[in-house]
């Protein structure tokens, strides 16, 4: 994976978006990306996992100071 501050920032932004979607599916009755209207806990779990994984990806993308 390429390491740069820009790439790291992109993953962090993605993590924030996924975290927001987690809260959305936990709190709002919706049929967005779902088969019926209601709260969708499976969707929330999925987006929470994706948020965590995005943060992990951000950690991999973080440039390291070599020989500092």
């Amino acid at each position: 994976m390429s390491k740069s501050r820009g790439m790291m920032a992109m993953w962090v932004v993605l993590a924030v978006v996924f975290a927001a979607l987690t809260v959305f599916y936990l709190t709002v009755n919706t049929s967005f990306l779902a088969s019926a209207t209601g709260k969708h806990y499976k969707h929330a779990v999925l987006f929470a996992a994706l948020a965590v994984l995005s943060l992990v990806a951000a950690s991999f993308a973080r440039p390291r100071n070599v020989g500092a």
């Binding site: 994976m1 390491k3 990306l33 779902a34 088969s35 019926a36 806990y41 499976k42 969707h43 779990v45 999925l46 996992a49 994706l50 994984l53 992990v56 950690s59 991999f60 973080r62 390291r64």
Partner: protein
């Protein structure tokens, strides 16, 4: 459901989950073919399926326990370091990125697809499609073997010319993992689709099966764990169902061991012919 029926369905699910023949397709077609006396629409049937999945996932975790421990430790280590350095760390990352597409497709589309295809006719048709996927993957593999001048050599020598899963790129792992999403259609096999994807990616048959089983574990486990609340409050006979889950686990354990040994030199063709035959019988017999 009687104990006999629970045992039969447990063994059927455990075995067909890992053989490239579609457990969901079998769950739809076989009971109708044999006129088994149960109602899939019964409110206690979902808890039963949940327990069967947990049994199968547990068997896979036991079978590959040392590898899972190494990969989890490796993943934590790689995350702290911010770099992938060894095979276990790489395998952990490949499995995670390979699991994401199936997870997303499963959560977003599972209910819609299930509601469209729960009858035997589409399941029979998809079993035939599954046969086509397996035969297509083998046809492409044979073409690849001809290109590499491996024709006429022993199967073991042919297999040695292909790679192992840890050499997959991230992108390829995502694509192979995405094949799992096809298993949402009853009749398309999860392990068959990922094995076909693995073969197209240049893996040995044994490695494609190995990667397929590792990929399946988190998905099957998550499918079971997320439905655990369904186990309670429906007056389901949990003791009897638990027995079915244990049988599913035992069947899955021995199926996985058999398949890994089989695919050292074996191919997908026999399973393709079986799926095609079951699909045709399903279409002809079930009204």
């Amino acid at each position: 459901m009687s104990l006999w029926l629970v045992s039969f369905l447990g063994l059927l699910q455990g075995a067909t989950e890992l053989f490239p023949v579609s457990s969901l397709g079998h769950a739809v077609v076989v009971p109708l073919l044999f006129h088994l006396d149960f109602n899939p629409a019964d409110s206690t049937f979902v808890p039963f399926l949940v327990l069967l999945h947990l049994g199968t996932a547990t068997a896979l975790l036991i079978l590959y326990r040392e590898e899972w421990v190494r990969m989890i430790v490796g993943f934590v280590r790689a995350t702290q370091r911010g770099e992938i350095c060894d095979r276990d760390e790489r395998m952990a990352v490949l499995l995670i990125v390979g699991t994401i597409p199936a997870g997303v497709f499963g959560v977003v589309f599972e209910e819609r697809i299930k509601s469209l295809f729960t009858s035997a006719r589409p399941a029979s048709i998809f079993l035939i499609v599954n046969a086509g996927i397996l035969l297509g993957a083998e046809a492409l593999r044979r073409r690849d073997e001809r290109r590499r001048n491996l024709e006429g050599r022993g199967r073991a020598a042919q297999e040695e010319a292909f790679g192992d899963a840890s050499r997959l790129s991230i992108r390829t792992a995502v694509l192979v993992g995405a094949c799992q999403a096809l298993a949402l259609f009853p009749g398309i096999s999860r392990s068959g689709a990922t094995m076909a994807g693995g073969l197209l990616a240049g893996l040995r048959h044994e490695e494609a099966a190995h990667f397929s089983f590792l990929l399946a574990t988190p998905v099957i486990l998550a499918a079971g764990v997320l439905e655990v609340p369904q186990l309670f409050g429906k007056n389901a006979p949990l003791g009897t169902y638990l027995f079915g889950a244990v049988l599913a686990g035992v069947a899955a354990y021995f199926s996985a061991r058999f398949l890994i040994r089989y695919f050292r030199v074996g191919r997908l063709d026999p399973y393709a012919y079986y799926c095609a035959a079951l699909g045709v019988v399903g279409l002809l017999v079930i009204r």
